[in-house]
Symmetry: C2
Subunit: 325 residues, 2 copies
């Protein structure tokens, strides 16, 4: 049996954390041969609920789950962690300005970055799910100077999966036969789901759908899918967000298949002209626990315009939190 690895989940009593924890404990993220210690973090007022989550996890008698640590202390919660899922964040409430939102979250992700810097495994992989995810990840990364910036990522996989699902529905081709989807930019309404490199059952996606559908229906549908879910469910995406977080971590840790692409928010090193140091989503492949950006893609004027618009938004977000970086 492999030695156990430590997986931290923040916001573990929230809806996404709750949906993620049981799948992770069952082996759905790191494989059914990988024992796990779960380190669950919540804010003080949610500790009773977190105790209930811990009780339910124990009630499952998961063979892989070696221990559970529940805490409000981030220095304990991130101690020796190998995989950190930063799910908890401050949601936008009525009347809250964007700058207030960014700064309220900065107060969460700055200290978490420092705690990771001081206590996590030196090989830790960090995924930020809590919104605004890209800029929250940037803040956490900036507060962890002893950890490589490449160990901090933000979640675009839900958008990536949604884009594949929408293209599958439109073309009536199974999701397993859709390759080379690319999501660019910010996990926000400016995100750019790019099908221009997609192959659908061996055919170019562009040859199967028309441009008007792509620009006027597909792109807004993917961008606004979160609101559509809220309207239907009366609650925001939870199990699908948890599933995407699991996909992201699994592929990052265990590698992507052959020539598969996924999309991850990563620190830009200037690829495709995106400002260095921004936490921006690129199409990547993963191997041996690292990612690499898919290189050499042709970007037409529309793609450049869309990618740049999302970059501009992220530059503004960065400016708004510069005191926290």
């Amino acid at each position: 049996m492999k030695p156990a690895v430590r997986v931290t989940i923040t916001g573990a009593a929230g809806n996404i954390g709750y949906a993620a924890a049981f799948r992770i404990a069952a082996g759905g993220m790191l494989g059914t041969d990988q024992p796990i210690i779960l380190q669950l973090i919540e804010i003080e007022p949610a500790l009773d609920a977190l105790r209930g989550v811990e009780m339910e996890l124990r009630d499952c008698a998961f063979p892989l789950l070696k221990d559970i640590i529940s805490t409000a202390d981030i220095n304990i919660g991130f101690k020796d962690v190998d995989y950190a899922l930063l799910i908890g964040s401050r949601p936008r409430t009525k009347g809250m300005e964007r700058s207030d939102l960014l700064s309220a979250n900065g107060k969460i992700f700055g200290p978490q970055g420092r705690a990771i810097n001081d206590h996590a495994s030196r090989d830790v992989k960090v995924l930020v799910v809590g919104n605004p995810a890209n800029t929250n990840a940037l803040i956490a990364m900036s507060n962890a100077p002893d950890i490589s910036p490449t160990q901090f990522t933000s979640m675009m996989r839900l958008d990536h999966n949604r884009a594949i699902s929408q293209l599958s529905t439109k073309t009536r081709i199974p999701v397993t036969k859709i390759e080379h989807m690319a999501l660019w930019g910010n996990h926000s309404l400016t995100q750019y789901p790019d099908i221009s490199h997609c192959m659908v059952d061996g055919k170019s996606a562009n040859s199967l759908v028309n441009e008007s559908w792509y620009r006027n229906e597909f792109i807004p549908k993917v961008q606004k899918r979160g609101a559509e879910i809220i309207n239907a469910r009366g609650a925001s995406s939870a199990a699908s967000a948890a599933s995407a977080a699991i996909d992201h971590m699994r592929d990052w840790a265990l590698g992507t298949a052959n020539d598969a692409w996924i999309s991850m928010g990563i620190v830009s090193t200037g690829d495709y002209g995106i400002a260095k140091g921004l936490m921006y989503s690129f199409p990547v492949r993963c191997k041996n626990g690292t990612y690499e950006v898919i290189q050499g893609l042709s970007m037409d004027d529309f793609s450049v315009k869309m990618a740049k618009a999302s970059e501009a938004e992220l530059l503004e977000e960065r400016e708004a939190v510069k005191d926290l970086l």
Copy 2:
């Protein structure tokens, strides 16, 4: 690739159904080589929420998930189903008498039994999770005369897993080293978690814990665990119930390991002196898609008393719903 199998979930927009659906779609129940068609059933007022669940499932782009059918029509929802998880039920509300509860649920599980009889695969496996689970399963079974009674079961796996977890905590031995737990009777406060055959890391459980702890702490703790979870979480067990349902179906479909025991509510054929025809929990092993009761266990006076008390309750429940059988 194997042909897809059909999995029906009732109450699919409820908390247990929601927790189960995504794990099943990810391959957590029938294996990562088994394609699945999900058939989700809800009552009319929950169809909007169900549409949201379906949208989220699609948003996951699960490779194994070939199709989703969402419906309030049980004749559609049970069409050709191979695995049916009957989760939705009428919960007990304030001031409701037990007889009212049983009869309200009879109105759900009678028609579901008939729909399964008329439309399901002839090899269907049915698991009733919705409470009162044993008697609901009895009602469904009784309304499906063309399906073998052995294809209807009720869930005791959550109690079984809880019992293993409690014994693990007490003895500080991992759950993987606890064998031969047995849960007898009704999924109710009369259930009997029986450690008298348990081996804990090769030692008899009885030799590791004292009788007073066993009778005065362990048994009530397992029996009342549901209420303890509600107190902590402010909501009833959801993900742990879903996990137990997945365990139950997986082991029934794919078999239990070597000499492992699990507990399932099954129709009694008179084993251990339990009235024939009751839906009662016994320790079983599973192979080739069938279960067999563990035979020849010695039952001391305490065990007989406990097992009989739960039988008496189930006989009363059966009497209360006799018009529905």
